[in-house]
Amino acid sequence: MATTQYLFAGFGGQGILFSGKFLAYKGLSENNQVSWLPSYGPEMRGGTASCSVIISDTAIGSPIVSKPDVLVAMNLPSLDKYEDSVASGGTIFVDSTLIERKVKRTDVKVHYINATGLANENNMPTLANMIIVGKVMAEMGQFNKEGIDAALSKVISARHANMLEFNLKALNLGKEN
């Protein structure tokens, strides 16, 4: 797979940084080079949040993703801001619950997923991020159990072990929708 550059973007509080971290740990558990770089700002909640994740089988140069192969947009401002930056032939994942408009680009693949809606329907309102990551992994052909288990054990502390099951369920929901 050489190098894949991911950009996750949305509101603070949607778990943008968490889902990026999950994917980075999954990449690491599969013996790849990885980097994870968050945007950071004065807001703790409610502002915009994004993170760059690079997964590569060779050494990673800049950790900054300016031309993502994969964009995950979880709100409209993020899609507006980053749509044009996606590499030609890349993929955009759109949370269609929160973003009503369609992607304008014609040279990229697009997946619309009702992530926030599904999360609410399934009583896991905070896990729209993981639903969409499930979809990302499925579409990228990387939905494998070993990597997912390894990564979840890294990003979910023992104290919150009860959340493991919900996260797995969310990932599966994403895969199936």
């Binding site: 994870w36 950071y40 800049s62 900054i64």
Partner: protein
């Protein structure tokens, strides 16, 4: 592991048991990490009332001979300037971390390299230097922290880790398997005479100009040894390079992407990445100046390291600046453009 956390854990591994700091973005993870870990290993984390107090607490611990550190970001490091000068004047070993953000003034909180002058040219009043280490990966954040403590003790001076917001915030895999050299004997420490020796004095006051000059000369003799023995840099694809890019920290990683792309296009370009910013690696630039047709300095500042690059290359070839400032980061495309422009003879 985040870069900031890598620094904190590496410091603990290096035997540092005292940390003093004051909250400031984007380095606060270091303080948070220390606050969590230090009490569990019998160490001391203390949130000081100001940056000034923090650096003076560092001075106090350093005078007892224990390994000690503080960390901050640009505006906070300015406040620490006073203490940095006193540490230098009293020949006290300590580690200072600056996770730089944009300036001047309150500036911003996004990554920057605009404290290069401050770090490499002394950082406060008086004749002195600090050993300045510029990590370009989370692994190096850890490695250079350990190295920083060792060098500080070896030469009785302050080491500074000059990182930036990106290095502090990013996560990469990191190995913390270190073979730490034990701290040397410190017979100069002010830790109580036990009535067994003459009293020691930790001091930077010398009212006799002859004596003060002598102290400065002695210190600069030591600096010469450091310049000869401790300079560190990395060369990337320089063997056949006709264009040289130079950058440190995050800028060097952006530059590598651009160089890889330029090589694909058949342009012979390489990178010199200073790891010690003081002492500055003069030799590779001297050599490069005989080999390349120009040097491009990639910086997150209005052009600071470029002055040392020009001095080191003795202005034998054109040196141009490729930069962003105020918290912006040059893109690989911008660097590539600069390379192509120089390759086409368009060095400005």
């Amino acid at each position: 592991m985040k870069g900031n956390e890598a620094i904190a854990e590496a410091a603990i591994i290096a035997g540092c048991r005292h940390y003093f700091g004051y909250p400031i973005t984007p380095q606060t993870e270091i303080a948070a990490y220390m606050a969590k870990r230090m009490p569990k290993i019998g160490g001391c984390f203390l949130q000081a009332e100001s940056e000034i107090a923090a650096i003076n607490m560092v001075y106090g611990v350093a005078s007892t001979g224990h390994r000690v550190m503080t960390s901050s970001s640009s505006p906070g490091v300015s406040l620490k300037g006073e203490g940095l000068s006193y540490l230098a004047g009293a020949d006290m070993p300590a580690l200072i971390v600056n996770v730089q953000r944009g300036g001047p003034g309150l500036g911003g909180i996004q990554p920057s390299q605009s404290d290069y002058f401050q770090a490499t040219k002394g950082g406060a009043h008086g004749d002195f230097h600090m050993i300045v280490l510029a990590p370009a990966s989370v692994q190096e954040m850890a490695d250079l922290t350990v190295k920083g403590f060792e060098l500080a003790d070896k030469y009785r001076m302050t080491s500074m880790i000059l990182a930036d917001g990106t290095m502090g915030q990013m996560m990469e895999p990191v190995s913390l398997d270190f073979d730490v050299k034990p701290a040397p004997e410190k017979p100069w420490a002010t830790n109580g005479t036990n009535l067994e020796r003459e009293h020691n004095i930790t001091n930077s006051l010398f009212l006799s100009p002859e004596k003060l000059e002598e102290e400065n000369f002695k210190r600069y003799e030591r600096y010469k040894v450091i310049e000869e023995n401790e300079t560190m840099y990395e060369e990337y694809m320089m063997e056949d390079a006709e264009i040289c890019v130079t950058a440190f920290g995050i800028a060097s990683r952006v530059a590598k992407n651009a160089i890889d792309e330029a090589r694909k296009q058949g342009i012979k370009v390489g990178l010199i990445r200073p790891i010690t910013l003081w002492p500055f690696p003069v030799a590779p630039f001297k050599k490069a100046a005989e080999q390349v047709k120009g040097i491009i300095s990639v910086e997150l500042s209005m052009g600071q390291m470029i002055e040392d690059v020009r001095l080191a290359s003795e202005c034998k070839v054109p040196v141009t600046l490729c930069n962003r400032a105020g918290g912006m980061i040059p893109s690989p495309e911008q660097v590539l453009e600069a390379i192509i422009s120089m390759n086409n003879g368009g060095a400005k």
